[in-house]
């Protein structure tokens, strides 16, 4: 990479296949495709277990993004698209998933996915996606009971974090850890607007604040927003965090300390694909299995 042109906002795109889950003759093969505003996720399941997963940046066209992320998930699997019995599309671009047999809201899919990732004890889900923050309550089966979402505002969302990463020149995946590297937690910034952060963060830096302190002040303000939403929906244990920000330790640790409640631990997703960032696609693939079984009856 050429120095000075580093793309700080860029996060890791990946594709994982778990060959031990390889389908047999009678297996039910389903898929979930979640086209978010920032990232696209595809999960292929065999008999309701993750066989392949892919996560990549969403392009300017939702149908193209859906095709690409699905092709990537199929890579190295011995499967063709036509081998998949049922596909459910979800997310912001769900109406533009051309290969989907059905579409469902990302709220239903995230609850279902969180139930799969952490088990039936999940009652509240904080989903921090590319362009919105949602607080979802669900039952032991992962069925949605109620939910709230913020007004469309980039503060605290994945997109907002990307802008902050570029602004402060800190690689996005390191921001959480960097924000914890302060002697004392600063007061939250009074203005969380990401557009104004371009000038406000510069102003704080000129006043002698370190990058770490500026970031800590922003992360704290964003964690407060998330906690407000959680409290409005009625946060009950156990609490799971899904979406891209589930990997942001700066946000997670602040949410935990503000709520006085632990969040469910990050699973070892590299071993089995249970990535909370892909909770929507995982839930969609599970719904696909249920819909396929229903259709066969």
């Amino acid at each position: 990479m050429i120095e000075g042109s580093q793309q700080y906002w860029r996060w890791r795109e990946y594709h994982l296949v778990f060959p031990e889950k390889r389908p047999k003759q009678s297996s039910i093969i389903t898929a979930g495709v979640d086209i978010g505003s920032v990232s696209s996720k595809a999960v292929i399941m065999v008999n309701g277990e993750i066989y392949s997963i892919s996560i990549m940046r969403t392009g300017s066209s939702s149908p193209d993004s859906a095709k690409k992320v699905m092709e990537w998930a199929l890579k190295d699997t011995e499967l063709k698209l036509s081998d998949i019995h049922y596909i459910v599309g979800t997310g912001y671009g769900r109406v533009n998933v051309p290969m989907a047999h059905n579409t469902l809201t990302e709220i239903a899919c995230h609850a279902k996915g969180a139930n799969y990732i952490w088990g039936p004890t999940v009652r509240t889900i904080l989903d921090v996606g590319g362009q919105d923050i949602k607080a979802i309550k669900c039952d032991e089966k992962g069925k949605v009971l109620s939910f709230l979402m913020n007004d469309k505002c980039a503060a605290g969302t994945g997109r907002g974090m990307e802008v902050l990463a570029d602004l402060l020149k800190i690689p996005i995946e390191e921001m959480g850890a960097v924000s914890l590297n302060v002697d004392e937690e600063p007061e939250p910034v009074s203005c969380t607007c990401v557009a104004f952060a371009r000038t406000e963060a510069m102003w704080l830096l000129r006043r002698g604040w370190t990058k770490e302190k500026v970031l800590a002040a922003y992360m704290r303000a964003m964690a407060i927003r998330m906690c407000n939403l959680l409290q409005r929906v009625g946060c009950e244990s156990e609490l799971a965090v899904t979406g891209g920000q589930s990997k942001n330790v700066g946000i997670i640790s602040r949410v935990e300390s503000l709520l006085g409640m632990k969040t469910l631990p990050m699973p070892e997703w590299e071993k089995d694909g249970r990535d909370p960032m892909a909770a929507g696609a995982i839930g969609a693939a599970l719904f696909a299995k249920a819909l396929h079984e229903k259709a066969k009856k």
Partner: protein, 262 residues
């Protein structure tokens, strides 16, 4: 003896000088820059020289604006909401709703015939409802902000974007460019989005005619056209709308220190 009002705006410092009768003697404006206090001093001196008077001639100075604490020595201060109400009724005696769209903040102020505030709502700490939105969108569209208004007037209204957040608005504009939507149509969509946002604020307090539009963004013909298209009321735009805050402050100085008008 004359009176002065100074508006410490986020983008510009504005000064208005009034005589005993409430007649405007001089106006002056300059960018706030990195040292607003210096900019204020400079702008004030310019206004004095435009009016052909000395500092000692000024009987009372009132300051307002977001950077109030940076203002030069003022005899009193007034809130931006109160300044808008006073200026609105001065500029248009029948005005009961003042819409002020500034560089980084917007206000809707409902007032009585004497310029007293009855109700108001603010858009603060969010760039989406202010001039900052237009600036960010012009950058995304790669047109000069000064040219975007004119450009938007050629459009028919085939495109739309959402103005709930500058960051997402930028994405909307980029995807419209990818879809090869003509620039003038995107420009109009940008103004329509801001106008809709402002109108939703108006509905929060309830519209009372007559309506006057002030603030720096009132000079943008693209925005005034969009607001007129979308608001179900006539809108009066005064000359020098960007001076409304300073004018309101000067009117406060006049009322405070005694003049011939209330």
């Amino acid at each position: 003896m004359p009176f002065a009002g100074i508006d410490m705006g986020i983008q510009n410092v504005k000064v208005v000088i009034l005589d005993d009768d409430g007649k405007i003697l001089a106006r002056s404006i300059s960018p706030s820059g990195f040292e607003p206090a210096k900019a204020a001093e400079q702008t004030f001196r310019e206004a004095l020289s435009n009016a052909g008077i000395r500092r000692d001639d000024i009987k009372h100075v009132t300051a307002t604006g977001a950077g109030l604490d940076m203002a030069l020595e003022a005899d009193s201060t007034i809130s931006m909401v109160a300044a808008d109400a006073k200026a609105g009724v001065y500029l248009l005696p029948s005005a009961r709703t003042v819409i002020d769209v500034g560089a980084e903040e917007s206000r809707i102020v409902v007032c009585d015939e004497r310029g007293n505030v009855l109700d108001f709502t603010l858009n603060e700490r969010c760039a989406a409802g202010s001039g900052a939105f237009l600036e960010a969108m012009a950058r995304a569209l790669e047109v000069r902000i000064e040219e975007m208004g004119e450009l938007s007037l050629k459009a028919k209204g085939t495109a739309s974007i959402s103005a709930t957040c500058v960051i997402f608005g930028e994405t909307d504009v980029v995807s419209l460019i990818h879809r090869q939507e003509p620039k003038h149509e995107i420009a109009r969509a940008i103004y329509d989005a801001l106008a809709e946002r402002i109108i939703s604020m108006v509905h929060r307090v309830g519209l009372k005619p007559s309506v006057i539009l002030v603030g720096g963004v009132a000079k943008d013909i693209g925005f005034t056209a969009a607001l007129r298209r979308k608001l179900e009321a006539e809108i009066f735009v005064p000359n020098y709308p960007e001076y409304a805050g300073a004018l309101g402050a000067a009117l406060h100085a006049l009322a405070k220190a005694g003049g011939n008008i209330q």
